[in-house]
């Protein structure tokens, strides 16, 4: 009887610990989808409304191509994400080759939308592009 009670108590303890851990994880995920402290990561409302995602990132390398090039970025923080896509640490982002790219050596807020231009949701390859394909518009850097 005592053993049974002990086992029940241990099981209950284990269950309550797991629940607390899950709640903590959900909070972390939720937090990453909410706009952060506006003084620290102030995002443009107009641009963010037009974007599927807003991230803080740094340029790793600029790609080659014509009409479009793909820049490789390191994602530092996901500020807003209206998709179910989980951003990896490194991702390629398309932009028009004849428009400005992502500035080098700077942390930037990037406004992202689905590729190609005009797409309202991500394609099977989960391709992203800078908003309007233009770094001058879609990047806000310190």
């Amino acid at each position: 009887m005592k053993d049974t009670l002990l086992i029940c108590l241990l099981l209950q303890l284990f269950a309550s610990c797991k629940e607390a851990h899950n709640t903590k994880q959900e909070m972390a995920t939720e937090k990453s989808n909410e706009p952060l402290n506006m003084t620290e990561n102030k995002i443009d409302k107009t641009k963010s409304t037009r974007s599927l995602a807003v991230v803080k990132a740094k340029l790793i390398t600029s790609g080659g191509g014509e009409k479009f090039v793909k820049d490789s970025i390191e994602v530092l923080e996901v500020i807003q994400n209206q998709t179910s896509y989980k951003f990896p640490k490194r991702i390629d982002i398309a932009r028009y080759s004849f428009k400005e790219g992502i500035p080098e050596n700077k942390e930037c807020i990037l406004y992202l939308t689905a590729f190609p231009f005009g797409a309202t949701e991500l394609n099977e390859q989960n391709e992203w592009m800078l908003l309007d394909g233009d770094g001058a518009y879609a990047c806000e850097c310190r």
Partner: protein, 251 residues
């Protein structure tokens, strides 16, 4: 005789005179609901300039048959002259030591006037993997700008921009070339009529030089048409989608 006719026709004393020089054209089959003014607008004219199409000598048979532009019928063939030209083609250096090209044409927006480009990448990877490609496969149509891009910015109908962004591989330079055409579209038939070649030489030492735009030769146009005909969009070949390509006829 032709000289005298042209001289008289182009004289301002004749009021609004249309100078019917030999030119390229598209032959368009009229569909239900089409009007001469709308067709003229679709092919780069102001709607008020519809008479330049209707009164063209190549439409004399249609005029005789139907009598009035309001009497045209589905199935009639109308000749639409295409006097449009590339009016500027500027290559400008960019901060990253590459070159951007901007090409403009005259005429109005004209929804049936479009740009097509084929690219020779030399030793650079293209999409799909091949030394040649038809611009970037962001959709399944052969035109440089997608419908979404044009809807967002209709001025793109008259304006082409590109910038090859490449670095030469170790040991040799890259001679990147493109053939760009202004074209007229009727259904799934593309008729090219103003074709230029341009490019960039990407040097091994990071020094890049522009290959100034110039008119394409007949040989280059043949190659350009062949690439278009075997080209592939995002998911399918243009041929499988029913697209055909030709030089616009000339009278």
């Amino acid at each position: 005789m032709n000289f005298i006719v042209n001289l008289l026709c182009s004289s301002k004393n004749y009021g609004k005179i249309i100078n019917y020089q030999p030119m390229v054209f598209d032959d368009v089959i009229i569909k239900n609901g089409d009007t001469i003014s709308q067709l003229a607008s679709d092919y780069g004219y102001k709607t008020s300039e519809w008479e330049q199409v209707w009164n063209h000598p190549l439409n004399s048979s249609l005029k005789t048959l139907r009598g009035s532009p309001t009497q045209i019928m589905s199935g009639d063939k109308i000749i639409i002259p295409l006097p449009w030209k590339i009016t500027s083609k500027a290559m400008t250096p960019t901060l990253d030591k590459k070159f951007r090209i901007d090409v403009k044409r005259d005429g109005t927006k004209g929804k049936n006037l479009k740009w097509v480009q084929t690219v020779f990448g030399d030793n650079q990877p293209l999409l799909p993997p091949s030394p040649f490609s038809v611009d970037w496969p962001d959709d399944d149509e052969p035109f440089y700008w997608t419908e979404a891009e044009i809807t967002n910015d209709p001025s793109l109908r008259g304006h082409f921009s590109d910038k090859p962004s490449r670095n030469a591989p170790v040991g040799r330079s890259t001679h990147w070339r493109a053939v760009l055409s202004l074209c007229s579209v009727s259904g799934k038939r593309v008729s090219i009529f103003e074709t230029i070649v341009w490019g960039v030489n990407f040097g091994t030492n990071g020094v890049n030089t522009k290959y100034q735009p110039r008119p394409a030769t007949d040989y280059e146009i043949d190659g350009h048409l062949r690439l278009l005909s075997i080209g592939k969009g995002k998911t399918q070949t243009f041929k499988s989608l029913g697209w055909t390509f030709r030089r616009a006829p000339k009278n």
